[in-house]
Amino acid sequence: MNIQFNNRDPVYIQVIQHFKLQIAKGFLESGDVIPSRRELASQLKINPNTAQRAYKEMEEEGLIKTEKNQPSKVTHDQDVLRGVRNELIDEAVSQFVDSVKSINVPLEDAMKLIETHYKEKGDSND
């Protein structure tokens, strides 16, 4: 696990974003055990307090669950997991729309461009 952090967004939010991506890509599935707070801090080279805060937020969002004396796990709630995927897709599309709209690209052109690029990239999903 490795994240290139930027310096202007809160680190804990970048950590949460990373977990959401892992879930959306299917690398993390429901019930998977995730690292302890301390392990995460040393893997990502972040402050243990930050790891703690990221986990707390994820717990509140229902993304992960921690039972007493058990390692934290990804939630079994499929609705939440689907929600994460939809949220990420929505964010990406809205960002794309913002940037093409700002340079006045008509919808049809944008759609065509998406199609061509999609085909060019083929099956690679990076």
């Binding site: 952090f5 310096n7 202007r8 967004d9 809160p10 680190v11 804990y12 939010i13 301390r38 801090a41 040393s42 990502l44 080279k45 972040i46 402050n47 243990p48 307090n49 930050t50 805060r53």
Partner: protein, 229 residues
């Protein structure tokens, strides 16, 4: 908590610290930043009672600093503190004699982590390895608070990364750390709190995640605002 309250320090007619107040919490990494000659080291020396103050006071866990406080708080300076002919092993023996809270197991762990050889003479070590020995000698004391003066200065990038890794490990967890550095880039993601010292006064004291969250600024952005006007 280390509380620095309205401290004043003068060298002759020059006021180096002018009513400086801030706190460093347990379980947090607090970074004291200021350009050279702003009195960062003087603050650390003052906390350790190595230099007298003209006014103000310093409390550790609500109490004045006495001889017993030094079991709770260690200072890791940026210069060699051991006699030049000492080997790392002798330095560890020396520390064991002085501190009740010396933890040899932790010292051995760090020796392995930093890939240091206990038979090496401290005077013969590179600058980077000397810094690692200093860090080892300080962190192996089971103290609640650790003061570190410029642990990264003049050290190569890989040693810096190795030292930064210490901050994310159990070696630091739950303790209170007060650190001074110029190389903020190395630890920008690691620190909880920043205290900016300029012209002998505290210019700003803030939590790093708050500034990112509320203002969208990096620590360096804030520093630029304070120092480059």
């Amino acid at each position: 908590m280390i509380e620095v309250k309205d401290i004043v320090k003068r060298f002759g007619r020059k006021t180096v610290l002018d009513q400086v107040s801030f706190t460093a919490e347990k379980g947090q990494i607090t970074c004291l930043i200021g350009v050279n000659g702003m009195g960062k080291t003087t603050i650390m020396n003052a906390i350790m009672k190595l230099t007298p103050l003209q006014a103000g006071e310093i409390l550790v866990d609500g109490e004045k600093v006495t001889k017993d406080t030094f079991e709770k708080i260690v200072f890791i300076p940026d210069a060699t503190i051991m006699l030049p002919h000492f080997t790392i092993e002798m330095a560890m023996e020396f520390m064991k004699d002085f501190y009740k809270n010396w933890n040899q197991r932790r010292a051995d762990d760090m020796l392995a982590f930093f890939k240091l050889n206990r038979k090496d003479k401290i005077a013969s070590l590179s600058k980077g390895n000397t810094a690692k020995v200093n860090l080892l000698l300080g962190l192996a004391v089971d103290a609640d608070y650790i003061l570190m003066d410029e642990p990264f200065s003049g050290i190569d990038i890989f040693s810096r990364e190795q030292i930064a890794e210490v901050f994310t490990s159990h070696l630091i967890e739950d303790r209170g750390v007060l650190i001074t550095t110029h190389e903020i880039g190395d630890i920008e993601h690691l620190i909880d709190k920043v205290v900016i010292l300029n012209d002998g006064k505290i210019q700003k004291e803030f939590m790093t995640e708050d500034v990112r969250e509320l203002e969208g600024k990096s620590v360096i952005d804030v520093l630029r605002e304070v120092f480059v006007q």
